[in-house]
């Protein structure tokens, strides 16, 4: 008994030492050869711009949605992009923790709130106008600390087998009606849900918003952790109605086939807060703002080519004028555009206090 256990343990020890040595990954293997300087002009304040054909990106957007575009970028520019993929909020927390020591040059976020958090801490450098001017000003930062990349609409997802089209709510207010008691799925901790509530507050006023959240709470909402989980539940037939972002449906449809999905999307009437548009965006970390490759990466995401990629591959709204939205989506102009800064954390905090008051979030 002892000998065999001993041999096993010894093998384990040797094995780990070997593997530990073998998988020690080089921290940074940046190609250093000098090539053409980036075409993007650096803002004046930046010290000694450099282009070493290497840039580190923290991406809160999923690998399968982003990597194909990055591959094209690398092919065209010769710039290597090393990417850390994780959730947007986790990466935001990590970037806040790293502060000026962050190895990252660029942060790509799923939602504006995470960008606002970094902006508030002064971690972002101001972006040059030739980047920020490309994007529809309603969908980007107010102070050029980050730039909007794509838009996603809030939608109602419904189970087409248990809910008929004429029953569907025309507005956010109808969602809290008694006919939907216990039948609506929400993800109150999710940034995009909170943006919707903020939009409601801005469009209809704080007391109306308070009433709406109170009505929602009384109506026994089904609490989920994520938009994706709500969609799955609706598609499984266990939830009649849910509030999510539109492009989740297209992603599910692309793996399982649109005709196989019983979950369908519904846009509330034009201008209703339940159809607010949220944005994804990018910011340049101040500590790396001398990196021309980083600026080139950001401008590529808002180039015509980059924007077209998101339309075709992720079914999102382009934010650069002149690029057509994906087929089948209502025009961006029909959707609610509240006149507020999506990344303004002070506004976000008021929304969270409202949700907290009714016990929807911790």
């Amino acid at each position: 008994m002892l000998s065999s256990a001993r041999v096993r343990a010894a093998a384990l020890v040797l094995g780990s030492v070997f593997v530990l040595g073998a998988c020690a990954v080089p921290a940074e293997t940046a190609p250093t050869e000098d090539t053409t300087p980036a075409e993007v002009a650096a803002p004046e304040a930046l010290p000694e711009p450099v282009a070493d054909d290497y840039v580190i990106l923290y991406s809160g957007r999923n690998e399968s949605l982003v990597q194909p575009l990055i591959d094209v970028f690398t092919e065209q520019t010769g710039i290597t992009v090393d990417i850390r993929y994780a959730g947007s909020s986790e990466l935001a927390a990590q970037l806040l923790e790293e502060g000026a020591d962050s190895p990252a040059a660029v942060f790509l976020s799923q939602d504006a709130g995470a960008l606002g958090a970094l902006s508030l801490e002064g971690l972002f450098a101001e972006l040059p106008e030739d980047i920020t001017d490309r994007v529809n000003p309603a969908f980007t930062s107010f102070d050029d600390s980050w730039v909007g990349v794509t838009g996603r609409a809030r939608v109602v997802v419904y189970d087409s087998e248990s809910v008929s089209e004429d029953e569907l709510p025309a507005s956010a207010d109808e969602i809290v009606g008694p006919q939907w008691s216990g039948k609506v799925g929400i993800a109150p901790g999710n940034a995009s849900f909170q943006s919707f509530v903020t939009a409601y507050r801005v469009i209809k006023g704080d007391s109306a918003a308070d009433q709406w959240v109170a009505g929602l709470t009384i109506n026994d909402p089904q609490i989920f952790d994520s938009n994706g989980a709500i969609l799955e539940a609706v598609n499984d037939g266990t939830l009649p109605l849910g509030l999510i972002n539109h492009y989740y449906w297209d992603r599910l449809a692309s793996e399982r086939g649109a005709e196989n999905l019983r979950a369908k999307l519904h846009f509330t009437q034009a201008g209703d807060p339940a159809s607010i548009v949220n944005v994804t965006g990018m910011g340049l970390l101040k500590a790396q703002s001398f990196d021309l490759d980083a600026l080139e990466l950001i401008s590529f995401f808002v180039s015509d080519e980059g924007q077209q990629y998101f339309v075709d591959s992720t079914f999102e709204y382009p934010l650069v004028p002149g690029i057509e939205a994906p087929v089948g989506l209502p025009p961006l102009g029909d959707l609610a555009v509240a006149d507020f800064d999506l990344s303004d954390l002070a506004t976000l905090k008021e929304t969270q206090d409202l949700l907290r008051k009714y016990g929807l979030i911790l």
Binding site: A5, V19, E90, E97, Q222, L362
Partner: protein, 522 residues
């Protein structure tokens, strides 16, 4: 809470007498180990201090806090109680009753360890859409954590004799009573220590409760990070988890008792009627069916539903597999080295402060992975910035996260080395170190191996800290699995899920065999 001195002194354990003092080097190493695994606690303290103490009350009195604390405690107590009861029952069945193919059964009952809880819940949701709330969360978490009790209890049963129970039966006790009076005291330390790991696992689990929509504190803490970007507030909320962990660690200390060891001379297995045999087989099979078979069927169904799959890249799968194996073996080794001095100290010297020190070593294990990940970002950037986001810090983070999984078994196995043997070695002229090297280590090795394997399995499944700390461009099976499921590509995720469960099953199978060889051969 005070730690109690066991009332029945261990008959032949190797506890040093109260007069001898622990050597300074051992104390130093043990304290260092505790400081190391307490990095997340220090970090939480630093971040929580960003909230003025006057605001703490407001945070704790929020409408949802009470409900989440209640949910968290209820779930953790229910799951650990179930794991202790079922794990002890199953271990008894496979080691003491003639159900046939005992080794195979033990191996099968270890398999749920290999299934990440988020995967188990996802698989169930495919088969039974809409399940949510306490009952499914309790049932599934129990199924995947029962082996934390089954394996150490089975090992303890194999190390003890069934003779006492036979005597008790002769004296007129029924089988249940005989077990309770004679055998339970012998396996109680192992069962309770396993139960503690289960409790901490449940406390810190996020993936399963999020999917089954049962709101716990860890869910709330995760949400605080993801929506408010207010790390200080999240840290204050995470403090509640620390408080719960402190209480349960202290409770474990007083409930554990100490090991009473008898020597197994031979063990007579109870003969069974065919119907009893079927019944007992069903009991043993229950957790693996709930925790492994059903989830895998669910994943298979999703794979079948996928009409288009992201191109499958075998090279990527291979690379993720090698990295996963590499870091988990390294983490197992480092965690064991970290646990050893503390385990040795706690096993050999009975002092209140030592017991407290050992208890402190468990606390971080009840924290959500995101907290531990961020604490290591904080720590490594301020202490060893050049190692940040290298495999060194990643492995270190795993060791910090999972050292408690090695601690209990390591302590118990060192405790179980008879003092007589060490005295004999010393009488024969061996130095203290030589006695340690030639007597204690070899005898304790199987127990140490159990701890190391538990760490390896947990590392393979770890996600949140890995995402923050992995070297750029490298990935593990868990991160690749996450990457695909987060994009809704459940079909494309299936191969990664399958390989993850497969390679985590290997240490689980080894675990089921540890300490069994000699007995089987007799």
């Amino acid at each position: 809470m005070p730690t109690t001195t066991p009332t029945h002194a261990p008959a032949r354990s190797a506890r040093a007498s109260a007069v001898s003092h622990p050597p300074a080097w051992l104390v130093t190493l043990a304290v260092l180990a505790v400081v190391t695994v307490s990095i997340p606690l220090v970090y939480l303290g630093v971040r929580a201090s960003g909230v003025p103490s006057s605001a703490w009350g407001e945070i704790f009195l929020r409408p949802l806090v009470g409900e989440l604390v209640w949910n968290t405690i209820g779930l953790s107590v229910a799951v650990s109680a179930t794991a202790i009861a079922m794990g002890t029952l199953i271990a008894t069945i496979v080691t003491r009753l003639r159900i046939g193919a005992a080794r195979t059964w033990l191996l099968i009952s270890a398999l749920p360890l290999a299934v990440p809880s988020y995967l188990a819940s996802y698989g169930w949701l495919v088969l039974v859409p809409g399940i949510s709330g306490f009952v499914p969360s309790w049932a599934l978490l129990s199924a995947v954590t029962i082996p934390y009790v089954t394996l150490p209890v089975a090992a303890a049963l194999r190390g003890t004799s069934a003779d006492g129970e036979a005597v008790a039966r002769t004296l007129g006790l029924g089988p249940a009573q005989a077990f309770w009076r004679v055998t339970w005291p012998q396996v109680r330390p192992a069962a309770i220590a396993g139960g503690l790991l289960v409790f901490l696992y449940t406390l810190s689990d996020f993936g399963l409760v999020a999917m089954l929509r049962f709101q716990t504190l860890t869910w709330g803490v995760q949400q605080a990070y993801s929506a408010s970007f207010d790390r200080s507030q999240a840290a204050v909320l995470a403090m509640l988890l620390v408080v719960i962990a402190v209480v349960v660690v202290a409770a474990e200390r007083s409930a554990r008792g100490s090991l009473r060891r008898t020597t197994a001379i031979h063990s007579t297995k109870e003969p069974l009627s065919p119907s009893a045999r079927v019944l007992f087989s069903l009991i043993v099979a229950l957790p693996p069916v709930v925790g492994v078979v059903v989830p895998l069927i669910g994943l298979g169904i999703r794979l079948g539903e996928a009409t288009t799959l992201r191109t499958f890249d075998p090279e990527n799968l291979l690379q993720a597999t090698t990295t996963t194996i590499g870091v988990s073996l390294a983490a197992a080794l480092v965690a064991l080295l970290l646990a050893l001095p503390l385990a040795a100290l706690a096993a050999r010297y009975q002092r209140t402060w030592i017991s407290t020190l050992e208890g402190a070593g468990y606390l971080s294990n009840g924290l959500p992975g995101i907290v531990v990940g961020l604490s290591l970002v904080f720590f490594s950037l301020s202490v060893v910035p050049s190692l940040y986001q290298t495999v060194v810090v990643l492995v270190f983070a795993y060791a910090v996260l999972f050292m408690p999984k090695a601690l209990g078994t390591a302590r118990a196995s060192i405790e179980g080395v008879p003092a007589d043997l060490i005295s004999v070695a010393r009488t024969l002229g061996a130095s203290r170190f030589e006695a340690w090297r030639r007597v204690t280590v070899p005898l304790a090795l199987p127990g140490l191996g159990i701890g190391a394997l538990l760490v390896a399995i947990a590392t393979m499944k770890e996600l949140p800290a890995t995402l923050l700390l992995r070297p750029l461009g490298s990935s593990t099976l868990a991160t690749e699995l996450w990457s695909r499921t987060a994009a809704g590509e459940f079909g494309a995720a299936a191969p990664y899920a399958a390989v993850l469960v497969l390679i985590a099953a290997i240490p689980a199978m080894i675990l089921s065999g540890v300490r069994s060889v000699a007995k089987e051969e007799m």
